[in-house]
Symmetry: D2
Subunit: 336 residues, 4 copies
């Protein structure tokens, strides 16, 4: 059954708006960051990672965002271009903003944390006027990410992008990606997440992220059905609620909850799992696959990324994902 | 024909959320403010004035807002209570915010200006958590005012109030009341005005206010029909666009534009005209009158206020408005 | 004995830098402000009041400050000019700052309070570059006021003015005038008060103000001698410590503490007492009078002001002060 | 001749207050940072580097500063302790501030630049109350650094430290270390640099830094003599003005200008030259050496640091510096 119909006659498959930053990944791992002496630089930021993933799968993609006028910003733009992502709407800041940073700490494959630098981040300086309507007009899908809602003027830029996407019929995907540090208060967060989610066709988030959005609502048992129903009353067609190691469930307007198989992996770190899952899942849905097959593809893509050192650079090709699934099915891959 | 249906079985006729401030009106008028030596103090703020007007008409009203913890704040609360307005949800600030001020300058009946003090204003400190759901649940009408959208956390409080009003079936009225000084940029203003307007049943504003909201849209001829149609695609049933001395037009979903008779007045100043018009019009609509009769009642109420020294304190009773209309019809009142 | 020698050959007797604001004095007094309905507008701000006082005594004066680009700012400039105060260095703000306000509440002659509006005040926007060296070069005396140290860039403007005054040999007077509301913390306040006081020849303040400056020092018994001695180690020649109704003491470098006679008054309110005292005292010292006679003149000037409705407008002429002293001496004036 | 006398009977030789941060030095050098993929982490910040240098020379040292409550902050505290620096007065921030970062770019030995992260830096959150008087009371020398004056409350903490140093007779050294990015305006910078410099015994800076401080003064020919004389009128005994590759001159109150020999070096990068020079020079002066010999020692220490990858970690022992000088004198070291 088809839950979402994508527009045809568009020159771009996918565009995303929001955070572009630098990951500085610990080279010496399995120890506290205090004892890590060297770091390797990668492009990061959830919507950037997803876009890189989509491009690696062979889709035509573009990014809408803002970079600092410095070496880190230029590195990001170069990397996107090398990955065949259209950067026409990647604007350079001229206010002295800096590139957001994420230092990763990998104490063990399951104890990972991030030290964030988000003060005066360039990506949050994107304005509504800088969002190019024609990029969104050409795209089948617009993905928005919750971190871009954290501050003005980026917040207004996202609402403007939503307005353009509605006008031109793009399918809108909301990756909740809630990061408390850039927000003033949980009340403010809930307000803008809800206003944005009302306009979205596909919403992906963890149970905790949906709980945050229900701060002023009655869902005392944290019921997925109550959560999903609410959004089906607005624009949503698919609501994916992630329950950590208990797996993800894709709810659809017909009341169904779809689950998929998971795969073993030799886990290095957990970072990037969500982004690669989102990319894989959306790719599958855009190919017209069933939700189950799309979720399976997302899970396998995530396994590949969490077995590697980076998030963005490790994004696999579609062939690599298919191959991973086959090898798992043949029992060639076992968990670490 | 009935364009808006009001819920029944509610204990409150009307509630408003937003600005509560102090007007300091020049006692010596028809001169520049530099030469005004004494000022008289009144309660002010567009939603406060409208609520006072509704209460004077005999409706049961409540206000949702925030006052400074000082003499000005206490004066406001006292005045509302003396006017039979429920102040259960008028919260007192404890962060050291001050009461917004508006000094009026009346150089001549048609040359009026305002000197505003809006820095650190208490009314903009209202939070989403402070908005009481049960007040809105009991009310037939919720009126929001654009100035309350200008800053966090008041902005989120308004969106929360809209959420409660939708949930409980209150008719939502949006008085655009755009005041540039508290806003960061026109782009930010347009973003939040549009997000709020999508949820409203009745929208009142000047042509210039609607133009501001259409900053990112195509309405090059500033067509009222284009403007009104857009909002009918969302929740609106009535859109009133004011064209200054050319009069107001009430657009309805059936494509009609309704106009009403205007009245002569001995004008002292123009302040308060919009607020008394809004109160009179809404009162009429709530009585089940035609739009034309409601607009006429609003116009007559406005004539009474602009013939007086204050905005809030001059709000007339329904009898006084009816009497004014009759006297006009008998030719007893002529323009100044 | 001469404690301070004033430079000769200067075209200006006195200049002050700092706060220029508007007092809005309750017309209906002896009640809480909630019940006051009308207010009268006066120029206010401690250094402005002192300068007006000096000008009324017949001295040649100038003011260094910043006014809002609005009706209140223009009223202030006009009033200073009408009082023969040179406003060459009264700069107009162009950033949208407002005029500071002080609403007075007079519950009884001894229960007076002030409701201040100091957010985004124009006087605190004065920059170091705007301070004109030649005004200070021409002046015998520069008076600084503590409120101007509360924020950048006004704080730096004061330090620049002190630098010019040192360079050109002006006698520097520091009126502590500590008002907590514009300061971030007591630690910050103490830091800048002390840095400024090190450079001053005459320091006037209450015991409480000097206590605030000694936050990081050892003066557990709040000894005036400990306080005064500290400043004599820097530049001070006279330190006046005010003990409220117990009177003021002028300490001098020779270890003496000078006291003066006080006078009865029909008190309306206590506002303005300190400013008129400062003006009267400094006038006396500049005339070469003894400290005791100068303090007496200051006390009498204060009596006149506290018997009136305003602070600035009530500043007396020298003749009026002499006359008041004589009438007191003849027993014609008794306390209220 | 002895220009500065150090107090005796103190348990600490040296303490410094101010910036503590992390340097992230490019591992792949001689290229733009865009092409650098890995970075190595070091403790950084001018006063931290100088203190590490003094400790390596065998002096008893302490640091007064503030670190972020994160892995970077803990790494800094650990590193100081391992270098035998007393961290009793290294306070941990609890407001969510981050550790300042400096990414270095080494395009060639002479084309070096820094990409700074100074927003919300923990070191600038040190308060006056947190400065421990007894640390300063025990120290022969207090070194302050200009960057700590850039913002409140760190600025007030420095002035409080100066107050304690004056009270307890410590020799005060001011390392100008002017970094424009954390300052609001050049006028603000000049104001606080001058207020601090008035209280210092030894001042070190580049000609450009002294020019910045003379923004409001008349020194059109940028004369070193005019500059030095000004500070001798306050507390200064030695003023070192650095003229880049033309060498440094140490001015003394007797009107003399002292110069010293320089040494060849195999330069990797120029970072850290000033800090190691300052450490070496101060060490020499504290040993009672002539200014010339002290400057020579500073120059040799600088040569060692600029031949290495880091600033802090490369700080040499006194033996290593003596050895370097001897090898230079024997002609064993030549310039790169």
């Amino acid at each position: 059954m088809t839950y979402v119909t994508f527009p045809t006659g568009k020159s771009l498959d996918f565009t995303a708006i929001g955070r572009l930053c630098i990951d500085l990944n610990a080279n010496e791992i399995n120890r506290p960051m205090e004892e890590t002496m060297t770091f390797t630089k990668y492009v990061g930021g959830s919507p950037a990672n997803i876009t890189i993933g989509m491009s690696r799968f062979g889709l035509k993609t573009a990014f809408i965002g803002k970079i600092a006028d410095d070496q880190m910003g230029r590195f990001i733009a170069d990397y996107l271009q090398k990955n065949h992502i259209d950067t026409t709407n990647v604007v350079t800041d001229h206010t002295g903003a800096v590139t957001g940073l994420a230092f990763t700490e990998i104490k063990s494959p399951t104890e990972c944390s991030i030290l964030m630098y988000r003060d005066n981040a360039a990506d949050l300086r994107l304005t509504a006027e800088e969002v190019q309507e024609d990029i969104i007009a050409q795209a089948k899908v617009l993905l928005i990410s919750g971190t871009a809602l954290a501050q003005s003027p980026s917040r207004e830029a996202v609402f403007q992008a939503l307005q353009y996407a509605k006008k031109h019929g793009a399918v809108i995907v909301f990756d909740l990606d809630y990061r408390p540090y850039t927000w003033v208060s949980p009340e403010e967060t809930a307000a803008y997440y809800n206003l944005a989610a009302e306009k979205c066709d596909i919403i992906l988030g963890t149970r905790e992220e949906f709980d945050m959005m229900e701060r002023f609502e009655a869902n005392p048992e944290h019921s997925d059905n109550v959560t999903a129903s609410k959004w089906f009353d607005y624009s949503a067609k698919i609501v994916i609620i992630k329950h950590g190691k208990d797996g993800s469930i894709a709810y659809t307007k017909d009341g169904e909850g779809h689950r998929a198989q998971s795969f073993p992996a030799k886990v290095v770190k957990t970072f990037g799992a969500g982004d690669s899952y989102a990319a894989g899942f959306l790719y599958g849905v855009m190919q017209g696959w069933t939700l189950e097959k799309s979720m399976e593809f997302g899970s396998a893509a995530a396994c590949i990324v969490i077995s590697s050192h980076s998030c963005s650079d490790a994004m696999p090709s579609a062939e690599a994902v298919h191959d991973y699934i086959e090898r798992c099915n043949r029992g060639e891959i076992t968990a670490s």
